[in-house]
């Protein structure tokens, strides 16, 4: 009998070890879920906990450089309602915050700060609630709401985008995209907004991809001088079209023959033959190198939710296509922000500052908890060459295609572009800056399918520059 007992006891012990082993495995597995998998589960889009938790927190404000409110929360019922005083004017850059449809723009990229979820203390579990019920942090932008409003109105009924930036710092003063939407009534109008064919939710300034057209020629001029393909005295004979073997012909706009022109004259009249020729002389390798120098493939940080530029594959580019890229056509597609950055090279002695739109983050008591400093991003060219191109851009405005951007008393430098595209009439482009001797603002304007850059985009740019320097 005793022997039987010890047999049974031995079996029971085995069962006990097996079952205890299962429970220990559960403990390990639970630790895995709550520690390793935790971040994945917390941020899973179907997990409504974060949205629920922040529903009862007063989200911080988004304000412009002068303290003008662009977004703030207002109590409504048991939750909060987000208000946007500038409505559609700032909608694409500030974004929206909808419990139903999520968040975009600054509302999304700075969500953690606005909701106060950046607080490291929240990992302290129950203890963190000692500091809770504080409203979220405020986000102070570099944006100038008044300038933004002027720029928004300048576009009128056209589709397009405008970027205004401080070349010395990279601070964004205005970022307009049209058509826009009213974030105050987004939930009610979601159906029509989200399905509209003219994509009002798209922030064209950073997400719209366009052919640059002739505005790319300022970079081409710099490339030709940097690579010593030409000097300032070299002239090229323009007979109204350029034959590119084997069978491509690059046409001058209106078949106009510019005759013998040097680089400065070619830029002033936006001579396609000259810049097509320069592209061919540079060849695929040096062309690729130039785009590389200007940082087209380099992201500028997650702040803007920017779409990457589309560059042609230079290795397999035929001569005809290469000449097209030289005048900003072909498969080259870039965003308006990138073109403002391109103009800033010549306004800022060859340097591109990293664009930024958030200046500071302050807590609800006004204490600064994070400050963003201007940052040098790329140096595509030398100060001397940058100044040379700048002089050429002054000529463009004074005696060339950009004459409509001319302002009395302030010297504007710029370049127009008229980009052919598959959608219809040409896109009107203008990039530039002012005052030329000490540039304070740089601008990029695109008006979709509106006609020539000189007649449509240049006057808009002139008026916005005047307002910005006012």
């Amino acid at each position: 009998m005793r022997n039987d007992m010890s047999d049974i006891a031995r079996n029971i012990r085995k069962v006990a070890f097996f079952l205890l082993g299962l429970l220990v495995m559960l403990f390990i597995y639970l630790s895995y879920i709550q520690v390793v998998e935790s971040d994945f589960l917390v941020s899973h889009p179907l997990n409504r906990r974060n949205a629920e938790a922040t529903r009862h927190v007063i989200n911080g404000m988004i304000v412009d450089k002068n303290g003008e409110k662009l977004a703030y929360s207002e109590k409504s019922g048991d939750g909060f309602n987000r208000q946007y005083p500038y409505a559609s004017i700032t909608a694409n850059v500030v974004g929206y915050d909808s419990f139903k449809y999520g968040k975009t723009g600054i509302e999304s990229t700075f969500n953690n700060y606005l909701t106060g979820m950046n607080n490291e203390l929240r990992h302290l579990g129950a203890i963190s609630h000692l500091w809770s019920n504080q409203p979220g942090n405020n986000v102070l932008l570099t944006l100038d709401a008044k300038l933004q409003e002027v720029a928004y109105k300048e576009l009128g009924e056209h589709r397009g985008a405008i970027v205004v930036m401080v070349p010395r710092t990279g601070a964004i003063l205005a970022m307009v995209s049209k058509p826009s939407f009213n974030p105050n009534t987004l939930d009610q109008q979601w159906e029509s907004i989200s399905t509209a064919t003219n994509s009002p939710l798209l922030n064209r300034a950073v997400q719209g991809l366009y052919p640059p057209g002739s505005i790319i020629k300022v970079m081409m001029a710099d490339a030709a001088l940097t690579e010593k393909i030409v000097d300032l005295k070299t002239t090229i004979n323009c007979e109204g079209s350029l034959k590119v073997p084997p069978d491509y012909v690059l046409e001058e706009s209106g078949h106009k023959a510019h005759g013998n022109v040097n680089l400065e004259e070619a830029l002033a009249v936006s001579c396609n033959v000259t810049f097509g020729t320069l592209a061919l002389k540079l060849g695929d390798k040096k062309m690729a190198k130039t785009f590389d120098r200007y940082g087209f493939k380099l992201p500028i940080g997650s702040e803007f939710q920017e779409v990457e530029s589309h560059l042609p594959d230079f290795n397999s580019l035929g001569n005809g296509d290469l000449a097209q890229v030289g005048i900003g056509q072909g498969s080259l597609l870039i965003t308006p922000l990138r073109m403002a950055m391109l103009a800033s090279v010549f306004a800022n002695k060859g340097k591109i500052m990293k664009p930024y739109i958030v200046n500071k983050i302050t807590d609800s008591d006004g204490n600064v908890i994070k400050e963003f400093m201007p940052e040098e991003w790329r140096t595509p060219t030398s100060p001397q060459l940058a100044d040379t191109i700048k002089e050429m851009m002054v000529t463009v405005v004074n005696d060339g295609t950009g004459n409509a951007a001319h302002l009395s008393g302030i010297q504007v430098a710029g370049k127009t572009g008229t980009a052919e595209n598959a959608q219809g009439a040409s896109h009107a482009w203008f990039i530039g800056f002012a005052p030329a001797d000490n540039p304070e603002v740089v601008i990029a304007v695109i008006v979709e399918n509106a006609g020539s850059g000189g007649s449509i985009a240049a006057p808009i740019a002139g008026r916005i520059l005047a307002q910005a320097l006012h």
């Binding site: 009998m1 039987d4 007992m5 047999d7 049974i8 006891a9 031995r10 079996n11 029971i12 012990r13 069962v15 006990a16 079952l19 205890l20 299962l22 429970l23 220990v24 495995m25 559960l26 403990f27 597995y29 639970l30 630790s31 879920i33 709550q34 520690v35 998998e37 935790s38 971040d39 994945f40 589960l41 917390v42 899973h44 179907l46 997990n47 409504r48 906990r49 629920e52 938790a53 990992h123 302290l124 579990g125 129950a126 203890i127 963190s128 609630h129």
Partner: protein, 421 residues
Amino acid sequence: MTNIRRHERTLLLIAGVIMLNGILAVSLTLGAVDYGIIGITCGLITSFLFVNIVLHKTGHAGDPLLLPLAALLAGIGLTTILRLRPNLFLLQVMWIGIGLICFLITAFMARRLEQIAKFKYVCGFIGVGLLLIAILFGVDIGGHKSWVILGPIRFQPSEFAKVFIVLFLAAYLSERRELLTLATRHYGPLVLPHPRFIAPLIAVWSMAMMMFILQRDMGAALLYFGIAIIMTYMVSGRLSYVIIGVVLFLIGSVVCYKLYSHIQTRVDIWLNPWVDPNGEAYQIVQSLFAFGSGGILGSGLTYGFPNMIPEVHTDFIFAAIGEEMGLMGAGAVIIIYIIMVYRIFSVALLSTMSFSMLVAGGLSASMALQIFLIIGGVTKFFPLTGITLPFISYGGSSIVANFILLGMLFAISEVRSDDAK
């Protein structure tokens, strides 16, 4: 002996402080402190201490760790229920009170366990009868078709059936131990007992299958089947029985999987819940979100969103603990269960009679299995099964049945102490 009860009292006081602390924390965060709730909690703690005094006066020498562990789990459960379903708090306190009375009665009655062995068939019939009642007259409440309604009373017979089935199997198997171990037939590589001797195994297997199919109660089916296999193994020590059992169950499961769509969806959502996170897999996906959002320290009591999980106060209560108390709380609960399971298996191992040893072993195994099935289910370690978390989940049947089970183990543990003297 007095010493044992004094230790028990100290441990009960500690568990009481933890319970009171939890209740206070929840009532404070809800705004005003409800003195009624605090008074009732103090009353419940006093009831635990009263049981301790009765055990002391009557010189009961049962294991001093079991009751405090139950009190600790009940305290965590009450705290969570007050947070999740404040209106069920009073009822749960009442169930724990009734559970304590049943614990006390069982702790003394089960001292004469050998006499129960004589009534093994009565136990067997009661156990099977309870299961059959549930199968035949089961009503669907909260997704489980395992409720029986008798006038004003509604209960889940399967919770109680477990004790009777274990008693029956222990008596039946310990009597036929020789036959099970020796009278075998060889079928190729497999060693099988004479069919006559595995009759109870087959009976429980078919019962489990019926629950599986008719009641859609995969948890109970797995539990009973597991108990039958494990107890047969305890007596015989033959792994082949376990293998046969598992194969039989798997065959049954595969047939069910092919025939019944609801079992297919259960298994499919376990394999990949992200395919249909808003449909069939909603509960388990929400449960995983709760655990993940809880992280290490949890959101703090009342600061999480456990009510996003349907039926959170019964089957999914562990997810609520994981969310609001984090790994610290949920991990602590698992550790408390591990200590409890270890302790009740020790009761079995130190028992002096083969019958009581088997009863204790069977009850311990059923407790451990139940904990594994439900915690494994809500964490997606195992396919989800609808059973309760012992001493924590809301529910009268579950609480009372588990206190009876604990009382029985408590009584058996006393024999060991007598023996040790």
